[in-house]
C-alpha cells in the first residue's frame, strides 16, 4: 500500500516536472517560431496581422462593399443595410442585427462602406519565399508596405554578407587554433626563461574586456592600412581568442603522457615533427571544442566586425543590424535576414553540441 502511494506520488511529481518544462520550452521556442513564420509571409500580411493568424482562427472577413450614391448626405445620419448611424459611428464599426459588421473604407470621400462577417479562416496558404530572395540579393526589389503602397529600393545583399562572414570566420577560427596549439605545446613541454610568468599573464588576460583594445588597435590599423581588411579582422579575432585557446589547449596538451613524448625524442624526432605528427592528432577533441566555440563567437560577433570591418566587407550581423537601424518596420526583410544569419550557427551547434558543451565546461572562466 505504502509502495503504491509512493509510486503515484512519483508519477505525480514526474507529471508536474514535465508540465513545467514543457511550458518553459514553449516560451523559449515561441520567439524563434514567430520570426520563422513571419519570414515566409507576404509583406502586406505582416503589417496587417500578427503571425499567429496563419493558423485557423475566427476573423472579420470582408464580404461586400457598398458605394453610397451622391444623393446620400454623409454629414448627418444615413442608412446602410437597414442600420442608421452617423459617419463617425460607421467608421468605428457598426454591428448589424445578423452579426455582420459595417466599417468604412478609407476616408469620407470614398463613399464606400465595407461589410464583413466574423467567420473561421483556415491555415494561411499564401506563404512565400520572396522575402528570402529579396533580402539575399543586391538588386532592386519592390514590395508593399503597411499602407499598401509599392516600395522600390536596393536589396540588402545578404548573400554577399554571408560570404564575407565565411571569409571572416573560417580563417578567424583556424588561425588562432593553430597559433594557440603551437604556443600550448611550447608552454607545456619546452623549457625557456620566463615561461611561468608569461603564462600567468595569459591567464590574467582571459577576462580582460576587449573594449580596452579597440581604440589603440584601430589607431594601428589606420596607420598600417589594415582597417576594413580581412587580415585585420582575423588578427583581431586571433588576439582576442588566443588567451582562451592557449589556456584550454595547454590544459589538454599538458595531460598527454610524458613517456609518449620521450619515446619519440629518443627516436630522434624534432620538436616540430612531434608537434605535427603526435600532439596535433592527439589534441583533435580539444581543438574541435575550441573551434566550435570560436566559430560561433565569430559568426555572431557584432562589435569587433563593426569596429574593424565596418560597412566595407560587411558580415551578416552588420547587415542585419543595419537593416534594423535603417528601416525599423520592414519586418519581412528583417525576419528573413535574421533567419539567414541564424541557419549556419544553428546547424553547427545542433550537429556538434557535444563538443561545444565540452569546450564550454573547460572554458567557463572566460567572460
Amino acid at each position: 500500500m505504502a509502495k503504491k502511494t509512493l509510486k503515484t506520488a512519483k508519477q505525480k511529481s514526474a507529471f508536474w516536472n514535465n508540465f513545467v518544462l514543457i511550458i518553459i520550452c514553449i516560451i523559449w521556442l515561441i520567439p524563434i517560431f514567430g520570426i520563422l513564420i513571419t519570414s515566409f509571409r507576404p509583406s502586406e500580411d505582416i503589417f496587417r496581422s500578427g503571425w499567429w493568424q496563419v493558423f485557423p482562427h475566427k476573423e472579420n472577413v470582408e464580404v461586400d462593399r457598398i458605394v453610397l450614391p451622391e444623393s446620400v448626405d454623409l454629414d448627418g445620419e444615413f442608412e446602410i443595410l437597414g442600420k442608421t448611424a452617423t459617419f463617425e459611428e460607421f467608421r468605428n464599426t457598426v454591428e448589424l442585427d445578423d452579426g455582420r459588421l459595417i466599417s468604412w473604407y478609407g476616408n469620407k470621400r470614398t463613399r464606400t462602406a465595407i461589410v464583413s462577417e466574423n467567420r473561421w479562416v483556415g491555415f494561411a496558404t499564401n506563404l512565400t519565399t520572396k522575402n528570402y530572395s529579396d533580402v539575399l540579393g543586391g538588386k532592386t526589389i519592390s514590395y508593399k508596405n503597411a499602407e499598401g503602397q509599392t516600395i522600390t529600393r536596393t536589396g540588402n545583399n545578404l548573400g554577399g554578407a554571408f560570404l564575407n562572414s565565411l571569409a571572416v570566420t573560417i580563417p578567424g577560427t583556424i588561425i588562432p587554433i593553430l597559433i594557440a596549439a603551437f604556443a600550448a605545446f611550447g608552454f607545456a613541454w619546452l623549457e625557456f626563461p620566463g615561461r611561468n610568468i608569461v603564462f600567468t599573464v595569459i591567464v590574467a588576460l582571459l577576462v580582460v574586456p576587449l573594449q580596452i583594445a579597440l581604440v589603440p588597435v584601430l589607431k594601428d590599423y589606420v596607420n598600417m592600412g589594415l582597417n576594413g581588411t580581412f587580415l585585420g579582422i582575423w588578427l583581431a579575432h586571433t588576439g582576442f581568442g588566443l588567451p582562451l585557446a592557449t589556456y584550454l589547449l595547454f590544459n589538454y596538451i599538458g595531460t598527454i603522457p610524458r613517456e609518449l613524448l620521450e619515446s619519440s625524442y629518443i627516436d630522434g624526432a624534432s620538436n616540430f615533427t612531434i608537434f605535427t605528427k603526435l600532439i596535433l592528432p592527439l589534441s583533435v577533441p580539444a581543438l574541435a571544442s575550441f573551434a566550435i566555440f570560436q566559430f560561433l563567437w565569430l559568426w555572431n560577433d557584432y562589435l569587433v566586425a563593426l569596429v574593424f570591418l565596418g560597412e566595407k566587407n560587411q558580415t551578416v550581423t552588420i547587415a542585419v543590424a543595419r537593416l534594423v537601424g535603417e528601416k525599423g518596420q520592414d519586418w519581412h526583410l528583417m525576419t528573413s535576414a535574421a533567419f539567414i544569419s541564424m541557419i549556419l550557427p544553428l546547424l553547427v551547434f545542433l550537429g556538434l553540441q557535444r563538443y561545444f558543451v565540452r569546450g564550454m565546461m573547460a572554458g567557463s572562466v572566460k567572460g
Partner: protein, 380 residues
C-alpha cells in the same frame, strides 16, 4: 610505439641530381637557400595580400582566396621559421626553438590585449584627440556625469536581474529535467538560443515588443502588445518606456544565457553522489529541502563559476542594447557609452577612461583566476 618514422637515407639518383644536391650541402648553398626560401615565402604572401587589396575578382573567388591565403599563410610561416631555426647550429636552435612555438602567440596577445591596457590607461589621462594631458578629467566624467551614472544603474540592473534569472532558471530547469525521461530534448531546446547572435536575438525580440499605435482597425502584430490587448490592456511602445524597457532587454539576455547556466549546472547536479540524496530522503527530507541542503551546497563551486561568467557577460553587454534601442530612452549601458564615445563622438580620452572602468570592474575576477591557476600549478 614509434609514431615518427625514421628518415630514409638519400636515394641514389643519377649523377646530375647528386651534384645539385651536393651543392645544396655546401655552406654557401645553405646560406643562399636560407635567404631564398623566406624571400619566396614573403613574395607569395605579399602577392596574396595585393590580390585581396585590389578586390576586382568576383566575391566568391575573393573569399576562397582569402581563406586559403590566411590559413595557408600562417601554417607556411611556422614551417619556414622552424626550418630556418633548424638550419642554425644545434646550440643556438635549441635556445631559439621554443620562441618559434610560443613567440607568435605571445606577440599577438601583447599587441591586442596586454599593451592596449597600458595604451588605454595613458589615453585616459589625455584629451579627446590624445594631444594633451588632462589629469583626471575623463575619470571625473566616467564617475560623475549623469550619462555614466545612468549606465552604471542599468548595468547594475543587468547584473542583478540578468544573472539571478539566468542562473536561477538554469538551475530550476537542470533540476527538473534531471528527473524526466525527455531530458535531452528539454535541454536542447533551452540551449538553442546560445547559437543565435545578439543581433539576431535583437530582431526576434524587437518583433515581439513592436507597437503599431492606436487607431481604428489596427491590429497589433507584436506578441506582447497582442497579449496585452487580449487581456484588455492598452498597447504600449514598450521599448520607449523607462524603466520597463531595461527589463525587457534583460529578458533577452535571460533567454540567451539560461541555456549556458543550465548545461553547466546540469552536469554538476549529475555529479552529486546518489548515496547523499538517498540518505537525505531516508531522513525524511522533502524534495525541496534535499535540493537546498544537499544539492545546492554540493554544486556551490560550479554555481559560483557560472555566476561569475554571467556577471562578466552582463557587465560587457553591448549588442542587444545597440540593436534594440541604441541606448536611448534610459537604456544606455557602459559598453554602449564606450562605443558612442569612441566612434560617434570620437573622444578617445573618455572612451579609454570608460574602458579602464570596465577593466577595473573585472579585476577581482582576474586576480581570482590567477590565484587559482597558481594554486593548481603548485598542486602538481
Amino acid at each position: 610505439m614509434s609514431v615518427v618514422e625514421a628518415k630514409s637515407p638519400t636515394p641514389n639518383g643519377n649523377n646530375t641530381i647528386n651534384k645539385i644536391l651536393a651543392w645544396f650541402g655546401t655552406t654557401l648553398g645553405q646560406i643562399l637557400v636560407s635567404i631564398f626560401v623566406p624571400v619566396l615565402t614573403f613574395l607569395v604572401l605579399w602577392q596574396g595580400y595585393l590580390f585581396l587589396q585590389r578586390a576586382n575578382a568576383p566575391q566568391i573567388v575573393q573569399v576562397l582566396v582569402a581563406i586559403v591565403w590566411g590559413v595557408g599563410g600562417v601554417a607556411l610561416l611556422y614551417v619556414v621559421t622552424n626550418w630556418l631555426v633548424m638550419k642554425l647550429p644545434k646550440r643556438v636552435s635549441r635556445v631559439l626553438q621554443p620562441f618559434v612555438f610560443v613567440g607568435p602567440a605571445v606577440a599577438i596577445m601583447a599587441w591586442f590585449l596586454a599593451i592596449p591596457v597600458f595604451r588605454s590607461l595613458i589615453a585616459s589621462f589625455r584629451n579627446y584627440l590624445g594631444t594633451e594631458w588632462v589629469g583626471f578629467d575623463n575619470y571625473k566624467f566616467a564617475f560623475t556625469d549623469p550619462r555614466m551614472l545612468e549606465t552604471f544603474r542599468n548595468n547594475l540592473l543587468w547584473l542583478i536581474f540578468g544573472t539571478a534569472f539566468s542562473v536561477g532558471l538554469g538551475l530550476l530547469i537542470a533540476t527538473l529535467a534531471d528527473r524526466t525521461r525527455a531530458e535531452v530534448i528539454y535541454k536542447s531546446i533551452i540551449f538553442t538560443p546560445m547559437a543565435i547572435s545578439f543581433v539576431g536575438a535583437g530582431v526576434i525580440w524587437k518583433f515581439i515588443y513592436t507597437y503599431k499605435g492606436t487607431g481604428v482597425g489596427i491590429q497589433e502584430i507584436g506578441l506582447l502588445n497582442a497579449l496585452v490587448t487580449a487581456l484588455g490592456g492598452t498597447p504600449q511602445p514598450w521599448l520607449n518606456l523607462p524603466p520597463w524597457n531595461n527589463f525587457l532587454l534583460i529578458v533577452i539576455m535571460i533567454w540567451l544565457q539560461t541555456g549556458y547556466a543550465m548545461v553547466i549546472l546540469s552536469s554538476a547536479i549529475k555529479g552529486v553522489p546518489a548515496e547523499l540524496l538517498e540518505a537525505a530522503r531516508i531522513d525524511g527530507a522533502t524534495e525541496i529541502k534535499t535540493f537546498f541542503s544537499v544539492i545546492v551546497p554540493y554544486i556551490k563551486g560550479t554555481l559560483l563559476t557560472v555566476t561569475t561568467t554571467i556577471v562578466i557577460f552582463s557587465l560587457k553587454t553591448f549588442d542587444i542594447v545597440r540593436v534594440m534601442t541604441g541606448g536611448n530612452n534610459g537604456t544606455n549601458v557602459i559598453a554602449n557609452e564606450f562605443y558612442l564615445q569612441s566612434f560617434t563622438y570620437t573622444d578617445a580620452g573618455r572612451a579609454s577612461a570608460i574602458a579602464i572602468v570596465l577593466l577595473l570592474l573585472v579585476t577581482p575576477i582576474i586576480f581570482n583566476n590567477v590565484r587559482q591557476y597558481n594554486q593548481a600549478r603548485r598542486g602538481f
